[in-house]
Subunit: 555 residues, 2 copies
């Protein structure tokens, strides 16, 4: 069997080596249009920041090793320019020699990846304007900074790469402005959760500009750049990094007449076969099946790409591995001293869908509070009326992605919030609490579903009929001095039973505290005394996150 693979990074290189392990006799040719294969694309920003010091570290598997150890015919700087599906022939251009030639195939695997989106912005091709996709781009940025002694940068786009680049350029000592067109960075999170990250990057000296985009780029005589934004402001800087999302590389697939799917990604079946049964596709260029919605989705992450590479190899050789196409979008990003992780659908996505959903917020500590160093993790979970988990988000300083990994695992089994209640997770004071953050999400969600804890949400407050409502903060007076929800009276929890007569039983009672725990106890007391009572999910801490806005010019 002769197998040609287009693209030599996560999906392609993984498919190639797994193919060889499964079949010693197959002829395997790997075409990569760039200079490098199997490089550490997720590590590129950290090379810029100096965290990764050797460029060799970015090259995970050199071509020589693939040739020698796996007998894979690796051809770099070799772009597959055309597929002739009828003849099962591909056309290749060697960028080093300029020559073109053809190869036949029995099976073809496409792993072309996704390329940075480019918008038609005036001046976008000027020197000093970069995208970050491969090792060469990264080295070019590094050289440009050194050569031009660049000390300021505009990063356009607040996704994974934009945020990681902003952090790393800042850690390199630059003045950094991060410009994001929507009202939040890190789209996998909902805005109130992203607000924690906004605070963090501002506190680390990054100039954050939300709700505005780059409209024009101009070069000065000293090689510096003027960046004009859609809010009419201008920024003078030494260079610009464009990280405004990626788009599937579907050129070859389109040319070959393969069916496309959501976002012009390549459509594949559960075996990763495209609409042509001898052509397979994996990685950032394909549409996966979203594990929650069941719909086709674009999830451009390294984990799924690697698993797809393994899986497609087995399928090309006639095994039937069908579960690889499902993805949940488990992801994590480091943002200076914080960690943000998420899985599944967020509220923005759910609000647009027909899915009924509920949500809960908790702010538990990262490990036992009596052991030094515990920090709060802010968590949000979305779930269906039957308890099925739809998505979760967590932001904090330690043990953050661990919580999301566990929830992602429950979601793989179609699990519910009741399963989270019962999970038995490793506990010792330095690592966890006896009731883990994931348990707490389960407890609060189950309490909501069972009717044991009616809740309200911070964003509903403006709509609440003030006339017929009483807002009660059950925190202590010193805590309430630090802030509370509008028009709240203060009845500390431990005085509540003695002060029930202060509450009009004909009004709805809206209870809050700092994070929702004491509010829950107060709600239980009031419920059993016949009040119509609701607890603020996540307490005043969530209220603050929901109601934080960041001016476009930070201090």
């Amino acid at each position: 069997m002769k197998i040609c693979i287009v693209g030599g990074v996560a999906g392609g290189a993984g498919a190639a080596t797994k193919l060889r392990r499964l079949d010693e006799q197959a002829e395997i040719i790997l075409f990569e249009k760039g200079e490098d294969i199997s490089y550490a694309n997720c590590g590129l920003p950290y090379y810029i920041g100096g965290e990764i010091k050797q460029k060799e570290a970015l090259l995970v598997t050199p071509p020589a090793l693939l040739r020698k150890r796996f007998r894979i015919d690796v051809r770099t700087s070799s772009e597959v320019t055309q597929i002739h599906p009828q003849e099962k022939v591909i056309q290749i251009r060697n960028h080093l020699t300029g020559e073109s030639y053809t190869e036949t195939y029995d099976k073809l695997v496409l792993s072309p990846g996704a390329s940075p989106k480019k918008f038609s912005i005036e001046g976008i091709d000027l020197p000093g304007i970069f995208t970050v996709r491969n090792v060469r781009n990264t080295l070019e940025i590094d050289e440009y900074i050194q050569k031009n002694q660049v000390n300021s940068c505009v990063v356009a786009g607040g996704g994974f790469i934009g945020v990681e680049m902003a952090e790393n350029l800042r850690l390199r000592g630059m003045e950094v402005t991060l410009v994001e067109f929507t009202n939040q960075i890190m789209a996998p999170l909902d805005r109130e959760m992203a607000n924690i990250l906004h605070q963090e990057i501002i506190s680390k000296g990054v100039n954050l500009k939300l709700g505005t985009g780059v409209s024009k780029l101009e070069s000065q005589s000293d090689h510096s750049l003027i960046v004009s934004l859609t809010d009419q402001s201008q920024i003078h800087c030494g260079m610009v990094v464009l990280a405004m999302g990626v788009t599937p590389e579907n050129g070859l697939a389109q040319q070959a007449g393969l069916k496309l799917s959501v976002g012009n990604s390549i459509q594949v079946n559960e075996f990763f076969q495209t609409s042509n049964p001898d052509i397979y596709a994996v990685g950032d260029a394909i549409a996966v099946t979203h594990g929650v919605s069941g719909e086709e989705a674009l999830i451009s992450l390294a984990g799924p790409a690697n698993r797809q590479g393994r899986s497609v190899a087995a399928n090309v050789l006639g095994q039937h591995q069908t579960n690889g196409k499902i993805a949940y979008g488990s992801s994590v990003v480091k943002v200076f001293d914080l960690i943000a992780a998420s899985v599944g659908l967020n509220e923005k996505q759910l609000a647009k869908s027909n899915q009924n959903y509920l949500k809960t917020y908790v702010h538990p500590f990262s490990h036992a509070t009596y052991y030094p160093g515990a920090t709060q993790i802010s968590m949000k979970m979305l779930f269906a009326p039957d308890g099925k988990i739809l998505g979760a988000q967590a932001v904090g300083a330690e043990n953050v992605e661990k919580q999301i990994d566990v929830i992602a695992t429950v979601m793989k089994f179609g699990g519910t919030v009741y399963d989270l209640e019962e999970l038995e997770l490793c506990y010792a004071p330095p690592f966890n609490s006896a009731k883990s953050p994931v348990n707490m999400l389960g407890f609060t969600a189950a309490n909501i579903l069972k009717g044991e804890m009616p809740v309200f949400y911070a964003e509903q407050i403006p709509q609440i009929d003030q006339e017929n409502s009483i807002f009660v903060d059950v925190s202590t007076p010193p805590e309430v001095l630090m802030g509370t929800i509008p028009n709240a009276i203060n009845i500390p929890l431990d005085e509540l039973r003695e002060r029930l007569s202060e509450l009009d039983p004909n009004k709805k009672i809206y209870v809050t505290c700092r994070v929702g725990l004491r509010g829950n106890i107060a709600t239980r007391i009031l419920l059993q005394h016949g009040f119509d009572v609701y607890n603020l999910s996540g307490g005043y801490k969530t209220y603050r996150l929901v109601n934080t806005t960041f001016s476009q010019e930070n201090p």
Copy 2:
């Protein structure tokens, strides 16, 4: 309803507060024979070590708060001495006043915990000999050390408390000898995994004595102690901590004629009801249902005790919560700079059962190797021939318990090694690899089950027929110089295809490398060339762990 609770720590205090949240009217009396309730028992060793500095931090929920906030009638220094189940009456002795009295109950919840095992060792009651159970014990140890300027200690017992005490006393600057009667510390691990911890504690200056126990204790005129061991040696030290395991506090249950279970623990049904339907029991004193074996088991851990407390409250009030009794033994312990975690059954337990099992070892890195600071995690997983996961163990310096949490979650759903292959876990270079350690366990286990990677295990080597076998280390020559398995020839992986003629096809080929990855590739090559070939699971690194012995006297 009048509910009496015996025992005010994890299970009892948790039950009391959940009862109140569910039922504002119930009369709830909490009896605790000690001085403190709801204290941080898992934190006690860290107070000795100075990591936790304030003794107030050890008192998680003071009695006043339980009284005020939860209207629980908390009675400390109050020992329940007898149950009269027919009359539904208990007898209580107040240790402060000396008086005895009775209380009636509608429902009784026993959460007496477990007490340190005491053996009939001569001199065991001498001054300077301690156990660690509660805050008072801990403060006594601290005072004794300060008053007597103790600078050396013998810790007897290598379980959680013994190991944590040895670490913390050592961090306080003492000469510490850790004595363990079996051939390993941390019984939840198998010995080869515990060997990593043995190395760690020896490297941190603890004198580790395995395979010997305390036979006699003698006091000197200067208050110092002579500890005689069963290996005939003697140790002169300033104090002794006995941590030789715990035993369920079943006195009350026995007196009341309640049925006992494994290890003389209290037998309960899925609602935590004892053999008397009005008496419930939770915590370290009860037998749980082991999630893997389905058998009654003693699992003394804070996580399950806390969940049981919540669950029993609901059941006492007539809800039917039935899943709380199942436990998997998920646990983690910090051992100086290492972390060890495990879940489910270990190989020692499986070898004694009728369960057929297989196993796999991997030594993946804690995060992407190209990002600084990655360290190896040594992992072992046990699984059934149908792929069901039976147990897992991990030892390393970071991201260790995270792996076990994920596996514990899969096990809760009865999941298999194939599920581990498909898990989509959060990945970014500082936190994980694109193929996570858990994925690697799944890949290797699935390869074994599918026959794609026949394996052998390090402990089988002495039994292998040398005459008809060839051992091949496919590492590089410099690596092989660092050590290899007995009688291995060296054929580096990248030369293997050219040197196949050196291997007698009539012999069995046993392949190894450093951790098993290159061995897998070599095995795939040789299998497809018709050889009868086996890969050493976990490679030479596992071989070393299996074959390490620690002399009873360390350097």
